[in-house]
Each structure stands twice: as C-alpha cells, then as structure tokens.
Symmetry: C2
Subunit: 137 residues, 2 copies
Amino acid sequence: MVEMKVLTGQRVTSQRRLILDILRHSEGHLDADELYRLAKEREPRISLATVYRNLNLFKELGMVEGRHFAEEHHHYEVKRKRKHHHLICLGCGRVVEFEYPLTRQIKEHISRKSGFKVLNAEVSMEGYCERCRKDRE
Amino acid sequence: MVEMKVLTGQRVTSQRRLILDILRHSEGHLDADELYRLAKEREPRISLATVYRNLNLFKELGMVEGRHFAEEHHHYEVKRKRKHHHLICLGCGRVVEFEYPLTRQIKEHISRKSGFKVLNAEVSMEGYCERCRKDRE
DNA sequence: GTCTATGCAAACAATTTGCACAGCG
DNA sequence: CGCTGTGCAAATTGTTTGCATAGAC
C-alpha cells in the first residue's frame, strides 16, 4: 500500500487506513468531530480517542497539518505537494484553497529585516464568498 | 479617559482598565492565561472568568483580535491602525510582527479568480529566529 | 437606587490518558 | 506470540455560565 509508506515502524490498522482515506477524500478541511462522524459511518466501533491519537500521529509524521482559522475552525488537512493558501468566508465558514506563488522576494525581504530564517509562508484572506455576498443584499 | 471611548454603554471598571492596559503594554501577544497571571500581580482578586468575559467583550467591540497560530498559540492583541503580519518562531514560539504592503494586486487577482469579496489578507510565516537558529547549530 | 460587572464554583466542550483486551507483524 | 493500537471511561485543559454581591453611573 503505497500511501502507507510513511507509517514506518507504526502499524497499519484498519482505523488508520480509514482516517487517512477520509481525509484524502474530503477536500481536506475537517475538524476532529466531523472526521469522527464520517469514520463511524463506515466503522461504527471506532472511538473519538483513536481519531485524536491518529491525527496527532499523522501530524508528527508530517502527513497532516492542523489549522486554526479565525475563531472556531480547527481543521485538519492532508499535506499536499503544491503550497496553497486559504480563503475563509465570514458568512458560512467555508474554506477555499487557492494557489499563489508567494514570491521569494517577500520571504527574502523579511528574512533580511528580521533575522528569521523563514521556512514557510502562508496567506489567509477573509471575505464573503459569492453566495453569501448575494444573500447579504 | 480617551482610551475608554469605545466602551460606550459599558461600564469602565478597574478590571477592564487593567486588562486593556496590560494588553497595550505587552507587545500585543498574550494568551488568556498569561494575561490572567499578569493581571493578578496587580489585582490579586481578579478572576479568570472576568478576563475571558472582557476579552470577548473587547473582541465584539473590535478593540482586540484573537489569533490562533500554528499549534497551541491562542493569543490576543490590541487592534492597531497599521496592518501587520506575523512571524512565528518554531523554536521558542515567539511571535514577531512585521509590516508589508500586501499588494492590492494579489487581492484583486484572488477576488477575480474565486468570486470572493476579499476584505482582509494576512501573511504568517514560520521559521527560526536568530537566537534559536544559533542554538540549533 | 438601579442595573451591569464581578468572583466563585459549577457546567461545558475539546482533547488526552490509563488500563485491559484485540489484532498487526 | 509479543507488543503496539484500540475502545471505553475517567482525567485534564480551556472556556463559559448561574447566582448573589459589589460597585459604576
């Protein structure tokens, strides 16, 4: 199982396969509880503790990232190769991803000014999505 | 008291003055607990509930913003006029602010592509600060 | 004096942990 | 068949709430 390559040393259990599978097919933005709900549909005996334990494991292994968006949105997403940013709708809470090459120049500028070694840069934008914008009129 | 102007309708209590004062003099990045600790130094009878209640009040009034940085950093900061971004040190957790004019072009580009009405854009970068970088060698 | 804000303790919500058993390797 | 992962329930942590009293206006 190719996707399990990262689990070296760790055991590949049905629960772990299930959790990863859900994350992979979920457009990437789920909180622990939604994930638990979805997992129970397929495997009713799974426990919430297992979901948390494995999310933490996957984070440590670098397969999954936790994100804390503005107020009350703790999400998890599978790491992908292409770096992407986030758009958060203030109306419905929906999170949309977008790609944008955050220019090397910005990072270099900041590194120079701050003394930080910048590894990672992420933009998040807030606003209203098309649907919510219409609803607000 | 000029700084209290925003508290229209609300009462100006010693606790509220204290909390705002601490936030204002703290370089802006504190979590609820640190704030509580600092407040108790000056006013030992203050309660944690009061800290939370007032942080929420200040947020509603738009005087203070809550931020959730990568893993386990729920901070509050007083809103200032100049828009700024954040640099988070993966070593020591320190948060440093920087200014950078996030060009209107980026926002417009995104708005067009996504249908979102973008109100707000923020960059956060992760890396290692000068000190931690040296420690890691 | 009235009515909002506070302290305290109890309630809640989200996440973590201890233990005995299940099941991967 | 040994040892890691799981389910369950209890523990912990972060935040909110109800109630009687203090104190701003």
